[in-house]
């Protein structure tokens, strides 16, 4: 048994294809990004070493900080919206007829490409013949907002599309977790006279706190790397009002061919993502221990 299953050649044969691919396509480039950040490079010509200049420029770049602020806002909104998804899941996981079908309907937008979702919402928000403004005009609003062209509204308008896209994802996760809560516990609480709201708040939510923690990390990290939808919907505009870190990085690298500066932003994004993941896990772990 041991001899056959310890064959080093076979192990290497089975692990190496995936390992080489992962190292050369994910980890190698990830490290090199930090290195490119030290360079002045247009992607084709010679690379020049300029030390920390790109990172210094980054710290003083107000456009960058504005995009970071937008990413941060999206992360906050996304985290807050988790509470709404949790309430919907709690209702669904109570003995409700048709919860199976409803759950699947909620999920459909999540399966579509961000490009399709973005284009669909561009049509919905169209100031003249979009779905939303036609509705607003029909109920008597004379000058409905121009949504994606309004610098004050654009980020919120995009966030509604993000809500639409991800609602089903989080509901599925919470629903699966809630179904794992032992029935006896709920039954016992009910016999002791606990109301459904008390059961939800005092038993179900604490018991799935591990999963809630994971979704908080997913929501924050997901928002920090948000790109496709915004890039297609507004391209970061109008006037940078919906620019986020990833879209700013992409523009710098692939539109203005400042690969060095783009890499510096990308490296910053990586570091922030790792730090935020770590902090969120730390913060939410201590709460866990209190509850048990």
């Amino acid at each position: 048994m041991n001899r056959v299953m310890s064959n080093k050649v076979v192990i290497a044969l089975y692990v190496l294809p995936a390992l080489i691919l992962t190292l050369s396509v994910i980890y190698g480039p990830m490290v090199i990004t930090g290195y490119y950040g030290l360079m002045e490079w247009n992607g084709i010509g010679e690379m020049t070493f300029i030390g920390l200049d790109n990172y210094k420029e980054l710290i003083q770049d107000s456009n960058f900080w504005e995009s970071a602020w937008h990413s941060f806002l999206l992360a906050i909104f996304s985290t807050l919206s988790l509470a709404g998804y949790l309430v919907v899941s709690l209702i669904l996981a109570g003995k409700i007829k048709g919860s199976n079908i409803l759950r699947k309907i909620y999920l459909i937008p999540m399966l579509l490409s961000s490009v399709a979702i973005a284009q669909l919402w561009v049509k919905i928000y169209d100031p003249n013949n979009g779905l939303l403004n036609s509705f607003l005009k029909a109920i008597g609003m004379e000058q409905p907002p121009v949504w994606l062209a309004d610098t004050d509204l654009v980020l919120y308008a995009i966030f509604v599309a993000i809500l639409w896209q991800y609602a089903g994802f989080y509901i599925i996760i919470y629903y699966a977790a809630l179904k794992g809560v032992p029935e006896e516990l709920i039954e016992a609480a009910r016999i002791d006279g606990a109301s459904p709201i008390q059961i939800a708040y005092k038993i179900k939510v604490p018991l799935i706190s591990g999963v809630i923690k994971v979704t908080i990390v997913l929501a924050i990290v997901g928002s920090l790397k948000y790109f496709d939808l915004i890039y297609v919907m507004t391209g970061g505009g109008p006037n940078g009002a919906s620019e986020v870190i990833a879209s700013y990085m992409y523009k710098k690298a692939f539109d203005t061919f400042d690969f060095g500066y783009g890499s510096a932003i990308a490296f910053f994004l990586l570091i922030i993502t790792l730090i935020v993941t770590w902090i969120t896990r730390k913060l939410t772990t201590s709460k866990d221990e209190l509850q048990y």
């Binding site: 048994m1 056959v4 299953m5 310890s6 064959n7 076979v10 192990i11 089975y14 692990v15 995936a18 691919l21 992962t22 050369s24 396509v25 994910i26 980890y27 480039p29 990830m30 990004t33 490119y36 992607g43 919907v88 209702i91 409700i96 759950r103 699947k104 309907i105 909620y106 999920l107 459909i108 937008p109 999540m110 399966l111 490409s113 490009v115 399709a116 284009q119 919402w121 779905l131 036609s134 639409w164 994802f169 599925i172 996760i173 994971v214 979704t215 990290v221 920090l224 790397k225 297609v232 690298a253 690969f259 783009g262 890499s263 990308a266 994004l269 990586l270 993502t273 790792l274 993941t277």
Partner: protein, 290 residues
């Protein structure tokens, strides 16, 4: 006394009913919010330009369904090329991901070696890496390999970036599988390769199906890599294809845009109708264990 109690109970059940109706209304409003934009898109895709840009309200039904919109974009908008590219690039990447991920998971859970936990950890960290932080060097690397503007760049990127999640989902399943069959096979003098291909792999069919559909949806919808690596129409996939198409024609082609979007969405919707349980399972498995 008994009557009063009874009345109180009745009153309570009336309130519970009202509460239930209210909850249902909430759930249905959420469902409408999720589904109506797609219904609207389907209507939109069947309208003529005058209907789209004209005075008819956007929530109206198409007066005379323009199926010809679909035919037009399929033949004249390169959509057929993009569609086929999406299909074969998705299939090859998913097959490679599943094969490599199964190899790794088998080696980690069934074979004895010292660095297996460390290797597993290495793959799992990949879950957190944002695509953007690898994008520029990856572009430079593929440029060096001369596969920029070649579908191989997409296949490599998709396969690699799907490995961590796939391994994670497979791992949960492998741990629950009994090892007795494999142990018996070893005693009978079976080679590792035969054990893997003829015993383990067939036993994992359910989880293979789940991860396959999840990966397919991811690859089908992927945008950043195609947008960055592919510039010629010959190799573009649907996401970037429709994006460029819509950019070109947004002012003069109304219903056609709806039709292109529908064409990109329909395969996913069909997969969803057939395999919704697997999709739900895959999403739940992929995140809950994270």
């Amino acid at each position: 006394m008994a009557q009063i109690q009874n009345e109180a109970a009745n009153e309570k059940s009336v309130w519970i009913r009202i509460g239930m109706v209210f909850l249902y209304i909430c759930l249905i409003i959420v469902a409408l919010f999720q589904i109506y934009p797609l219904v609207w898109l389907a209507m939109f895709s069947l309208k003529t330009n005058t209907e789209v840009f004209g005075l008819s309200p956007p929530f109206s039904l198409p007066q005379d369904p323009q199926w010809v919109n679909y035919l037009n974009v399929w033949e004249n908008g390169n959509i057929n090329i993009y569609f086929l590219n999406s299909v074969w690039i998705t299939i090859i990447s998913v097959a490679l991901t599943l094969l490599f991920a199964s190899f790794v998971t088998f080696a980690i859970t069934r074979m004895n070696w010292k660095l297996n936990k460390l290797t597993l950890g290495l793959f799992m960290v990949g879950l957190m890496v944002p695509i953007h932080s690898a994008l520029i060097p990856l572009f430079a690397f593929f440029l060096e390999l001369n596969i920029i503007n070649h579908p191989l760049s997409l296949i490599l990127a998709y396969t690699a970036f799907n490995l961590p999640l796939t391994i994670m989902i497979l791992l949960g399943f492998y741990y629950t599988l009994p090892k007795e069959v494999e142990e018996a096979a070893v005693v009978d003098g079976c080679s590792v390769h035969r054990i893997f291909f003829q015993i383990t792999l067939p036993m994992t069919t359910p989880v293979i199906a789940t991860t396959a559909i999840i990966n397919m949806i991811y690859n089908w919808n992927e945008f950043v890599f195609v947008n960055t690596f592919i510039s010629s129409d010959k190799w573009k996939t649907l996401t970037v294809g429709i994006q460029n198409f819509i950019g070109q024609y947004s002012t003069d082609w109304g219903g056609a845009i709806g039709a292109t979007l529908m064409i990109s969405i329909i395969p996913v919707l069909i997969a969803f109708l057939v395999l919704s349980d697997r999709i739900v399972e895959g999403i739940a498995a992929g995140s809950v264990k994270g």
